[in-house]
């Protein structure tokens, strides 16, 4: 909790684009609709699937099954857990919940003497949602990966322009693009540029309680005070 007298505020990596100011309700036109999901919680999860108890503990704490297949994404109303490497996953959830999870996980890892850890990356990552009928085409303008082939419920880590990103495809409606804070300005400009032929619009994102990622926008941010 903030100390008396201090009023901390957060700024997401895309804060300077003032996206909320231009956001409008999404319409079913041919445009590309896009916005940032700011201030979510992210943690890198490291562990060894061969160690008894690791996967169970993760599922017990997060309610998300540890995905073992390359690129697979576990989803639940409280967040997602993505395979990023054979001994590495990314947890995304609401900031507060993520902090609770990682505390429980690290305590559990220590108690069971597992070679496992979480690394808070909430300050270093952000997500943008990219939708519209041509959203896959926009990715095809920027990256060599065969984005059409990503199965629903999967993510792929690849290159857009000159930046490494993760593309998460949960449904046919759009994709979530995950990228690092310091690359955010570049990635956003690149997406905006590539979307230009189809029309580019910033959409209001609704906190949908049934959605593994949009749901995480719902609760107020505990430390967020408007700047």
């Amino acid at each position: 909790m903030p100390k008396q007298g201090f009023q901390p505020f957060m700024e997401s990596p895309l804060h300077h684009f003032k996206l909320d100011a231009e956001a409008q309700p999404r319409r079913a036109d041919g445009r590309i609709w896009c916005n940032e999901l700011p201030h979510l919680g992210y943690a890198v999860l490291r562990g060894d699937t061969a160690e008894a108890g690791f996967a169970q503990l993760v599922e017990q704490v997060t309610g998300l099954a540890l995905p073992l297949k390359a690129g697979a994404v576990s989803q639940g109303p409280q967040g997602v857990l993505m395979w990023t490497s054979p001994d590495e996953w990314l947890l995304v959830s609401h900031r507060q919940r993520l902090a609770d999870w990682t505390a429980q996980l690290d305590a559990g890892f220590a108690a069971q003497q597992l070679f496992a850890q979480t690394v808070d990356s909430s300050g270093g990552l952000t997500l943008a949602w990219l939708g519209g009928t041509q959203h896959i085409t926009v990715l095809r303008h920027l990256g060599v990966y065969d984005f059409e082939s990503i199965p629903l419920g999967h993510m792929v880590s690849t290159v857009l322009g000159k930046a490494t990103v993760q593309v998460i495809r949960l449904d046919g409606d759009g994709v979530f693009v995950l990228f690092r804070r310091s690359f955010a300005d570049y990635v956003w400009r690149l997406l905006r540029r590539a979307a230009q032929p189809y029309g580019f619009a910033v959409c209001q994102l609704e906190a949908r309680s049934d959605h593994p990622l949009f749901a995480q926008l719902a609760a107020p941010q505990p430390l967020l005070v408007s700047a």
Partner: protein
Amino acid sequence: MLVITCPYCQEAREEEEFSYAGEAYIARPAVPEEADDATWGDYVFHRKNPRGWHWEQWQHVAGCRKVFAVKRHTVTYEIAGSWTLADGKALYLKEQA
């Protein structure tokens, strides 16, 4: 541009996602201090650079960050396969034998 299969992501990906990580299975002398200058120099500086099949390491930097082994033909660019370092080593040693 090569197309390389990452044995961890289990998918063929464009070269752009990888970075070359040098010749594979170079043995670091177990006790460097006991290696003479020539042996050590050989380890640090000398590479096979063959015309033909070459065992090399690639790192999936834009993906899983894992380093793995690739057997690639340096003239035709044909790739015979890619393996985890451990799996590739068994094959490599068999070939060398």
